[in-house]
């Protein structure tokens, strides 16, 4: 399993180098960036599993970087731990409101830092697993829906056409049944499309543990 990748953005060089050493010793892959502007660009690249972000930096503050990142990435997918040397709670409160996952005050204990990083990475892993499970469940429900709601009228439509072909006779009644079946298919496909576009997929139990879309 590859090491978790951390981006550490802090303009201070001495202590942050020591923290990076400590984290690398614990098996993390860490990139350090002392420029807040460059750090913001790197963070946006989507390569990292977690970001350590100092609040007080020249040019671009940690809070500004946090705000920009949260416009595009949810906290469950990219945990951000803020670091602050100030005792004023104002920055911490603002950071949590903007979507920081956690914070630590400096000077920090590296064991505490590691524990917090591990917690956030575990939560992130859980989120990713849940999202994947959700996708698989949705796909299974879609297949069940197609089989039940579309296969049945499709079978009817085919059946009617086959009968008319075999008997070589046109039957208005059978044509109506064929048309009804095709209309039913069209309506179901449209409902699925609308629900999907609106991101409103609801499920109902088909049989036992099998779910289908509720349309």
């Amino acid at each position: 399993m590859s090491a978790s990748k951390i981006l550490f953005i802090d303009d201070e060089k001495m202590i942050s180098a020591a923290i990076v050493k400590s984290l690398v010793k614990k098996g993390y892959s860490v990139d350090i960036c002392h420029s807040s502007v460059e750090g913001a660009k790197l963070a946006d690249g989507g390569e990292y599993d977690l970001i350590l972000l100092d609040i007080e930096m020249p040019e671009l503050s940690g809070l500004e970087i946090l705000k920009r990142l949260r416009e595009n990435v949810d906290k469950s997918l990219l945990p951000i731990i803020m670091l602050t040397g100030n005792e004023d709670d104002k920055d911490i409160i603002e950071a949590l409101k903007l979507g920081a996952n956690d914070y630590l005050t400096k000077p920090m204990n590296t064991e505490v830092l590691t524990a917090r990083i591990e917690t956030q990475l575990s939560l992130r892993k859980l989120s990713l697993e849940n999202a994947k499970k959700g996708e698989v469940d949705a796909l299974n429900a879609l297949i069940t829906t197609y089989n039940h709601e579309i296969n049945n009228p499709l079978t009817i439509a085919f059946g009617m056409v086959e009968i008319m072909k075999r008997k070589e006779e046109f039957s208005p009644e059978k044509m109506d049944k064929t048309m009804d079946a095709l209309i039913r298919i069209r309506d179901i496909v449209k409902k699925i499309q609308e629900a999907s576009e609106a991101n409103e997929l609801n499920f109902e139990t088909y049989i036992k543990d099998s779910k289908m879309l509720k349309l």
Partner: protein, 113 residues
């Protein structure tokens, strides 16, 4: 005692290699840091003073040298507020304590050898 070695070491999970790397790095960069601080004070460059005092505050905090941390904090706050008067009042104390930090860092570094 200026540097609280026990507490600082504990913060680095008892890792002496990392602890001494910080001490040695501080010693080797001290002259540069001191000169930058003096220049920013002489030029009354508020932004620079804010950055330098913020760094010193962080260093002092890491080594648990509370009195330097406090005076750096006062200077940083004054710089944020553009208050050169307060900076003028505390600058000598700031420089003195910064030197004390260096002296103790050298002592600790020498004790290891």
């Amino acid at each position: 005692m200026i540097i609280n070695k026990e507490k600082t070491l504990s913060a680095f999970a008892e890792d002496e290699e990392i602890f001494f790397s910080v001490v040695d790095e501080f010693i080797s960069t001290f002259d540069n840091q001191k000169q930058e601080l003096i220049s920013s004070l002489e030029n009354k460059n508020i932004d620079d003073i804010r950055i330098r005092t913020h760094t010193i505050k962080g260093l002092a905090g890491t080594f648990y040298f509370e009195s330097l941390k406090n005076v750096a904090s006062v200077a940083e706050k004054a710089a944020k507020e553009g208050n050169l008067e307060v900076i003028e009042e505390v600058k000598d104390d700031l420089l003195l304590k910064f030197e004390e930090l260096l002296t103790d860092a050298k002592r600790i570094s020498n004790e290891r050898k």
